[in-house]
Subunit: 130 residues, 2 copies
DNA sequence: TTGACATATTCCCATATAGGAATATAATAT
DNA sequence: ATATTATATTCCTATATGGGAATATGTCAA
């Protein structure tokens, strides 16, 4: 009876932004202004129902807010909802940001210097030593 | 006949990290050291096949590397692969980090206080002005 | 009213899960 | 050789998609 398939996109922010088109939508809304559905349809070259559906997902998660303006619906980004993602991934920033401005990332341990080469593990090289 | 369902988790990093358990695994591997599957099974209280499958996904995307050590498989984080996520979400950091301190981000606490009413837009308040 | 416009919703469907159980493969130990 | 340990893979299934098409809802204008 307990069949737990893939996590629902409406579950959390991580799932919501997993969709490329939704990230595109967020990208347009990234200017902080309100945008009508039709404008998104036009700028992103996406069918209108698709845009509405994706906006619905984003709204359910809280990433966007909706306002009514005449016969249009204006959507606006609630960027704070993206903060959990930023906070999560920020913890791994030290692995690639050695040389980053000391101002921001002041000597975050030298543990990352061991990342010499970026290897993709194909079957051929999967047994190669690190 | 073109039925394009959800994007495959093995497609890109965003989908790979959408799974909570996979983020847990990444969390353990976040120390930069190599970990055996069994250790992850023990520490995360997950069934072994589940761990192996999730590691398979992470490996396909490039987030982890695999090494052989005796009869064990040691997995290690390729944190640089998380950089696209960081770069993407970083663009929205400005929305909640207005008062970001030049030297450090101590002032984040202030910004956190501003997150007073995290409003989910239900039908009742969906027409409320911003 | 009617009609045009803007957006949302419903229906159908092919596909990709993620979990569980069982099994397979691989390496080591006896 | 067999047994044990460690990990991977296969099979199954319930579910949640995301796209397309059609339709419904809602708003404004004449």
């Amino acid at each position: 009876m307990f069949a737990m398939p893939r996590a629902a996109t409406t579950t959390d922010v991580f799932n919501a932004i997993a969709e490329p088109r939704r990230r595109e939508i967020i990208g347009v809304l990234g200017d902080g202004k309100a945008h009508a559905v039709g404008e998104l349809v036009h700028r992103l070259h996406m069918p209108q129902p698709a845009v509405s559906k994706h906006l619905g997902v984003l709204r359910k998660v809280g990433i966007v807010s909706r306002r009514r303006h005449g016969q249009r619906r204006l959507y606006r980004l609630n960027a704070e909802e993206l903060r959990p993602v930023h906070d999560w991934v920020k913890a791994y920033q030290r692995f690639w940001a050695h040389q980053l401005d000391r101002i921001k990332e002041r000597a975050e341990r030298k543990a990352a210097e061991r990342l010499d080469s970026k290897r993709r593990q194909d079957k051929d090289e999967e047994e190669k030593p690190w």
